[in-house]
Symmetry: C2
């Protein structure tokens, strides 16, 4: 937790940390996008099938779940495994990288949940 903005910025050398072309921003955008956060946090609980993900991430459409999983798979955070059953069974899980990412997302989600609990009336 000791990293500061100044340290982050210094690492970029002469490039600004948040320059518009920065590839960090692309991946950051993928993993902090609304549905990306929720899918990663749910998968941190273990391997899920498609229908299980749709139930856990309440309100996500089939199309958006597909897009989210493909993006996270392409970034190396989600592993997709197909079993040769009839009908084929497909399971999604976090890769090692995905688990490292989840470790950094969970404290954020937890804190927001606590913060909202304090400030918003049900």
């Amino acid at each position: 937790m000791s990293v500061s903005f100044a340290e982050l910025r210094a690492r970029g050398g002469d490039k600004p940390l948040f320059s518009a072309e920065c590839s960090t921003r692309v991946v950051l955008d993928h993993v902090t996008r609304k549905w990306g956060v929720l899918v990663i946090v749910v998968l941190s609980g273990g391997t899920h099938r498609w229908g299980e993900l749709r139930r856990e991430v309440d309100g996500i459409s089939e199309k958006m779940l597909g897009t989210t999983l493909r993006t996270l798979e392409a970034d190396g955070f989600v592993h997709r495994e197909t079993f040769g059953t009839v009908p084929p069974r497909v399971e999604y899980s976090l890769t090692n990288r995905g688990r490292e990412l989840a470790e950094r997302l969970l404290p954020l989600v937890e804190w927001v949940a606590d913060y909202v609990g304090e400030t918003v009336e049900d």
Copy 2:
């Protein structure tokens, strides 16, 4: 870092953690939205004026910076102070809550920056 999905889920009682009406999801969406993350991380480096924010968060439009700051202010993360100079000077800084949030966002941003450094060719 020890919180797990199962623990998060258990806190919700009989409500699913990620039900579509959950207010946690609204705030989580605000603070993980692309520009929200960048603005919070930049403000964690200290008070900024409008033009300084626009320069640091490369590529953000005037309109999007305004929307992002208003949302973060309404959520209680950003403080806006106007000084009675001519022309008026406006400064933005993190509230205590905003600093708590930044502490949870910085490790995520740092990790993504390291991850991208490992995997993406410049």
